[in-house]
Amino acid sequence: MKEIIDLSFWQLLSAYVFILILILIVKIKRIPREKEIFLATVRMTIQLILAGYILVYLFENAHPILTLFSICIMQVFAIYNVYKRSNTKINLQMKKIIALSMTLGIFFSLFYFIFIVINVSPWYEPRYFIPIAGMIIGNSMTGITLGVNNLITGMKSHREEVEGALMLGATPKAASKEVTNQAFDAAMIPTINSMVGMGIVFLPGLMTGQILSGTSPVVAIEYQIAVILGIVGSVSLSVILFLHLGYKQFFNDRSQLIHEHD
């Protein structure tokens, strides 16, 4: 198998032509987005260069504390991102529920994956742990964000049905079942869609990376399948936990619908 081509500075720089083309197009079409494109490109470049150096350091100094610390940092950023990307204001209790369900869902799936599925030794091997954690955390973040937004907007738009169900003697859980089911559905759709398109519509990032680095496509596929299953597990577990605890925030101890989330 051929060695991977290490891109030279100029080769990498030449890839930025795509951004120049994009900026040119938006300028011609008078879409005022040049600033955002420019900033996004700069951020992406700086973040990835920093991540690259951090990963080199972590790989060369493999230690359980360092690996766990990195995962915790990623997790905190992901939780913060969910708060930021939510359409509506989330109260403190809801924030705690988001953090708890993401942490439990992600950590369970991640550790199951590391210890049972790949059984890597040592378990804290950053070369495995960090990229896999990144994929699991990133996808769970998207799923939870969708779950949070859909639960909050669904409880608002279906307020009459939820209240009507309570008047018919429904428990808060039964009264909000339709809304929580829809929120679960919305949260899972991107993950399920990506499974459907995988291998045909696109080659997933992990697989592409492994193939580029010289790994046999068959091994790359094995990893990809395992990782996507881990992602499904983490997203569904986090979202289920979130919805299970989250819907209760809309009711008080007298099973009355509260109006705080308006």
Partner: protein, 217 residues
């Protein structure tokens, strides 16, 4: 059956003392915004008063399980709540929510006929007219076999003739099953015609405290 003492909700409702007797028809009268619907919501604990006590069958509502209370004291709001699904699903959902025995197909068809709903049980309930939805909501509550039926403006979306039939059927059912009926209306004539007791909220005006007195006919 219901006893309210020193009830206060913001500036909206102030009730010093009110008794709603059981096994009878009680009518709550008053103009829009006078707190009629709020009063119903107090009775099934959909809301809690800022102050005061409400007792149902001599037990304080605050000591009762609110879900169990709502299964006994079923409320139909003025705007009927229709869930996504068929007419059958919409009528039986009441029993499902309250974990009671679902009505039989015979009962379902029977109540459709009684309420002049010339529809198939498998029709989509969301396509019904406002009046039809209102009748579905009332039928659903009746088939839950409640102890108390609380109806908020039950004939507001019905034409005069249908309203008469529906009211007649409700009363027949209430007498038959020995239920208590509490219903909110702004129609004084209807109240005079059917109510054993009337709670009049007519003197209400915004920001003016008022007391509800029971008026027996």
């Amino acid at each position: 059956m219901y006893r309210l003492t020193n009830i206060k909700i913001n500036e909206l409702i102030k009730i010093d003392n009110l008794t709603i007797p059981g096994q009878s028809v009680t009518c709550i009268l008053g103009p829009s915004g006078s707190g009629k619907s709020t009063l119903l919501k107090l009775l099934n604990n959909m809301i809690t008063p800022d102050d005061g006590q409400i007792a149902y069958k001599k037990q304080l509502i605050s000591d009762l399980d609110p879900i169990q209370l709502r299964r006994k004291s079923v409320m139909v709001p003025q705007t009927p709540v229709i869930f996504d699904g068929t007419i059958k699903e919409n009528i039986t959902i009441g029993s499902k929510f309250s974990e009671k025995e679902p009505p039989s197909i015979k009962q379902l068809n029977g109540i459709l006929e009684e309420f002049q709903l010339n529809k198939n049980l498998n029709d989509n309930a969301l396509n019904l007219s406002g009046g039809e939805k209102q009748r579905i909501a009332i039928a659903r509550a009746l088939l839950m076999n409640p102890e108390v039926l609380m109806l908020d403006e039950p004939t507001s979306a019905l034409d005069e003739q249908t309203a008469e039939v529906v009211v007649h059927k409700i009363l027949e059912y209430v007498k038959d099953k020995d239920l208590s009926l509490i219903f909110v209306t702004h129609n004084k004539e209807l109240a005079a015609q059917v109510a054993d007791h009337t709670i009049d909220l007519m003197k209400y005006s915004l920001k003016k405290e008022m007391t509800i007195h029971e008026r027996n006919h």
